[in-house]
Symmetry: none
Subunit: 237 residues, 2 copies
């Protein structure tokens, strides 16, 4: 009797490890009892018994919570809260692949605006040449009726490189996959590639003129344009 052969998604059936459930229970318990930073969790032996798991499993849960920064476990003393139990939401959000589009916009605005300003200050002639090359590539791509996704990425990568900050560049790389998704959606809108190209040119001009404020403003406007699309899609749902 296996009527599981349905037409729906196979629903990978998210297996949860015991320690995850335990960690979840603990954070829930923390929230319900309104525990604050500095408060102590019960001893491991007692807590494990109360939750009906072994100390080893509880220990795994505590490791997880420690890595995330919810608690700090002190040898010989106890387990104390750090006060940042907003963690559960993060984990859930990332796990569930929830709609992070607004957040992507926020962080892009934060990082890329600064990057644009720095690029205007620090760009070399080579940097500028790379930026211009990506502009040409995007123009050519659009001529062919393409969406210019690759050229778009190329432009932002070139600007990021021109900012000469490894930390910012690395951070951008971290969220690159998230940005890519929003990029594709944005450029799928009719007429959007051309608008995007115009925005890029404004950014490039400001960087060429070594004008940080103008570059930041242009980048901000550009990201905002993308956000319009993103927000529209949000409302459709």
């Amino acid at each position: 009797m296996t009527p599981k052969a349905s037409a729906e998604l196979p629903a990978p059936l998210a297996r949860t490890r015991l320690y995850e459930q335990v960690a979840e229970q603990i954070t829930t318990w923390i929230r319900q009892n309104g525990l604050k930073a500095g408060d102590r969790l019960p001893p491991e032996r007692e807590l494990a018994a109360r939750l009906g798991v072994s100390r080893a499993t509880l220990s795994q849960a505590l490791v997880a919570l420690e890595v995330v920064g919810v608690v700090v476990v002190r040898h010989g003393d106890g387990t104390v809260l750090t006060g940042k139990h907003s963690e559960s939401r993060i984990v859930e959000a990332i796990r569930a692949h929830a709609d992070r589009m607004p957040e992507i916009i926020d962080i892009r605005d934060a990082l890329e605006t600064k990057i644009a300003a720095l690029a205007a200050q620090r760009r070399t002639d080579d940097d500028l040449a790379a930026i211009d090359a990506s502009l040409d590539a995007m123009a050519a791509s659009i001529e062919h009726g393409d969406r210019g996704v690759d050229a778009d990425e190329q432009f932002h990568a070139a600007v990021t490189a021109a900012a000469h900050s490894d930390l910012l560049a690395q951070t951008m790389r971290e969220i690159a996959s998230l940005i890519r998704e929003s990029r594709i959606e944005s450029l799928s809108q009719p007429g959007r590639p051309r608008n995007s190209l115009t925005g890029h040119r404004a950014i490039a001009d400001a960087i060429r003129a070594r004008d940080p404020e103008a570059a930041a403003a242009a980048m901000h406007a550009h990201v905002e344009m993308v956000s319009d699309v993103a927000l529209l899609r949000e409302e459709e749902r």
Copy 2:
């Protein structure tokens, strides 16, 4: 008068738990052997034996790596790598550099300025209460002749939380250790804690007034103040 606050840093002597060392060894091993996404780690029993630890400890290390997103452990199958052992890459990439302070300032300016603006827009009364609490904590800390490092972190954490962006919060957490170092240096300057507190109050007021522009400007000024110190120290070297 406890003479503990004298001369050198007491150097709290960071104790590392075994699982942390194990996790570190594993990531190092991954990097050295150039393992990529999809590759498998050796079986737990074997790996534990090779590292000279028990399976329980290795399991803790794997939990930690799993939470961070480096690996995914599959029951009955094995432990496979994901492509994003990122968090360490950011920090390591910068750690390798001697003069990373300017880059830290850059990214703090980028992220925290935006965070302050968002906090002004989105903060709840609870958020504001948390921010005020950290302000009080810092004032009290300074009264005691302390440097207020913890309270400083608490403030920035509270503001970050008030921005209600998991992605930004997560990113801040990634570079938290780097920021912490610059923070300690900055607050070690005579009179700096008080200046810092003044800056914090300005930021808090702007957030209280729900004024994004003012909040961003105040945070920007605050980060700049830190950067002065940082650059000074750079030149000393």
